[in-house]
């Protein structure tokens, strides 16, 4: 197994961990961390898989750079929302997704 493939495989597991974290954790900050893990996992696969034969490939590297910037933008927005939520309600979770319906249901 080449190093590229090794990191790509690691990326798969990290992605799955992150996905599980967003779905199963309650605290908003943890879910934001989990979503960032998802992104990092995808980036590792993007570069690692493309470079599995050992040749550096600038195209997925540029894509990952773009992805990192997009991720920080999303994180900043998510944190602002979480802090606003906390300021309004004192809570740091929004309740299990599957159970939330409209307020009158």
């Amino acid at each position: 197994m080449s190093s590229g493939l090794l990191y790509a495989a690691t990326g798969c597991v990290i992605f799955a961990l992150g996905l599980g974290g967003v779905m199963l954790l309650d605290h908003l900050l943890r879910r934001i961390l989990a979503f960032n893990l998802m992104g990092s996992g995808a980036f590792l696969v993007l570069v690692g898989l493309a470079q599995r034969d050992g040749t550096p490939d600038p195209v997925p590297q540029a894509m990952v750079l773009t992805g990192i910037v997009v991720a920080v933008a999303a994180t900043a927005l998510a944190l602002t929302l979480a802090r606003r939520w906390h300021a309004l309600t004192g809570r740091d979770e929004i309740g299990a997704a599957g159970k939330q319906r409209g307020p009158d249901d």
């Binding site: 690691t10 597991v13 960032n36 600038p58 195209v59 540029a62 991720a71 920080v72 979770e93």
Partner: protein, 320 residues
Amino acid sequence: MNLALAFDVLLAAALLWSAWRTLSTAQIDRAVVMFIVFGLLLTLAWARLAAPDIALAEAAIGAGLTGALLLDGLAALKRTDARRPARRTAGKVMVRIAVISVLGLLAGTLVTALISLPPAPIRLPAAVAGDLANSGVSHPVTAVLLNFRGYDTLLEVAVLLLALVGMLAVGLPPAHPGISRNSMLPTLARYALPLMVLAAVYLLWAGAHRPGGAFQAAAVLAAGGVLLNLSRLQAHWLPASRAPRLAIAGGFLLFLAIAAALLAHGGLLRYPPEQAGLLIVLIESGLTVSLAVNLAAFFLLRSTPENGQIPPATAPRESP
């Protein structure tokens, strides 16, 4: 070769461990710290994958700036989710087991699929190398980012700007007090800042020939801005203040203008080969300033001005 692979295996294991600990630690401030550790390990992984541009960006943006935002958010949100619900119903436990099993299966299937993947029919590194001479820069990643796939970069800058507008729309948190005046930090900041500016300029200039570029330079400048703010040498920005908005919009508008002007010469972002280098430097300079202010604004833009007082360490800063 074996030693390198052994290192990679160790690093991969460390990545997995820190990712797992980020999600499973009981104390949430430890979770944030573990995430920053994860980011630094990831920087090493990028270096091992011959991706120094990403390593720079991951260190500066992924671990650095995101880490600062998370720690600041941590201060506001509760520190522990102490009320870990012991009252999980059987149904919820079943759902959790099901989700975890499915995800485990997914991860396993993915790894299997990756191992058995045949070589790809198209190889782009050769195409990039072939057209590099006409791209205006000599570093392949910069060529892809600003020329071959410059349209992605255009939209990505828009995303960054949009996130800031979104934050304004949601409502910004109040200003934080910064570090005590008696600390070393302001002195450190005064010495560090010129070096950071120098580093940023170097990164911007170097990006044409070697790893570096506008994003990394902007991240270093933004970090400098955050440092200044924390040591109370630079006040918070208010939503209504025009100067940051103009600075952020300026670089993006320059990029848009050049992209549109090039339409007249054949197509969107179609640089004439002789002028490509110059235009790319121009765009990157504008972007460095603009992105630096944008990234710094994620931290510095607050709803209230700093009141100049140093509150006691444990006083809550959020008003309900």
